[in-house]
Amino acid sequence: MNAAPDAPDEAADPLRADIAIARAAVSATRAAPGVERLATSVLGGAATYGRGEVVRGVTVRHERGAVHLEVHVTMRIADAHDLRAAAEPVRASVRHAVEQLTARPVGRVDIAIDDVVFESEGA
């Protein structure tokens, strides 16, 4: 029990840990400026699976001792604005939220812009 002091929760139940990370990433994404919604595809899109629970639009993977995330978003953007720049606050927000949760540095946070909504279009 005391053998893994760095990550007792994850060692105990990795599925629950991943779901918790994915949920934190989802709320952080929703709260980030410029995000219209998580891009969720019902048909086999990116998702994190836990015990009887699915969080869509986010995948969590562990590599070389760090947590890496991939977040799929639909961005809301004005014409001629830079999408790559718009993705940076999302990345920062997700990183911050997950680091708060796990108390460890997060590896890569990949942002996949799957769709866009233009600001002048209605919702």
């Binding site: 995330l69 830079d82 999408l83 790559r84 990949d110 769709d115 866009v116 233009f118």
Partner: protein
């Protein structure tokens, strides 16, 4: 077996296998990368096209893209990208459009304006260089056509 081994040993020594350095790894270190879906590029191009005066509409392409259009609808794609085909590479994109031009507009000028607007929008929003914008003008729109093609009287009464 022995053949394979021989092949391996016969690799010229000057051939050096280097890991490919990707643009994403370059630009963002280990913080993560940003990917932009083809649908997004198509939407931006479609919108930039519709903004040009003289463009009446973008028409959906042939059977092949009708199928892909269906797939797009099923998977959550949206209308604004329909009729726009894009090929997106790592740094460049090619855009194919089929359009109907308003009668009276200069087709070369409309085409030129589309190319400029599509290139600048796609570049500004995605960072991709638009290598080519292929425009297929499939029809002209004349105001009279609406009158003749949309009769006010119900046309169903072929037989009684």
């Amino acid at each position: 077996m022995s053949e394979l081994e021989q092949r391996d040993t016969q690799l010229p020594p000057e051939v050096e296998i280097r890991p490919t350095v990707t643009r994403e790894a370059d630009q963002a270190r280990d913080l993560g990368r940003t990917t932009i879906a083809d649908l997004v590029v198509a939407k931006i191009a479609g919108r930039a096209t519709r903004e040009v005066s003289g463009v009446h509409e973008i028409v959906t392409q042939g059977v092949g893209s009708a199928i892909s259009g269906l797939a797009q609808r099923v998977t959550g794609g949206e209308r604004s990208a329909q009729g726009v085909n894009v090929d997106v590479g790592e740094h460049e994109a090619a855009v194919d459009l089929r359009i109907v031009v308003d009668y009276g507009a200069s087709i070369p000028q409309v085409a030129d304006a589309i190319r400029r607007n599509v290139s600048s929008r796609v570049r500004a929003m995605t960072g991709l260089t638009v290598k080519e914008v292929n425009i297929d003008v499939v029809d002209l729109f004349t105001a009279e056509e609406t009158v003749t093609s949309q009769p006010a009287v119900a046309p169903q009464r072929r037989v009684e």
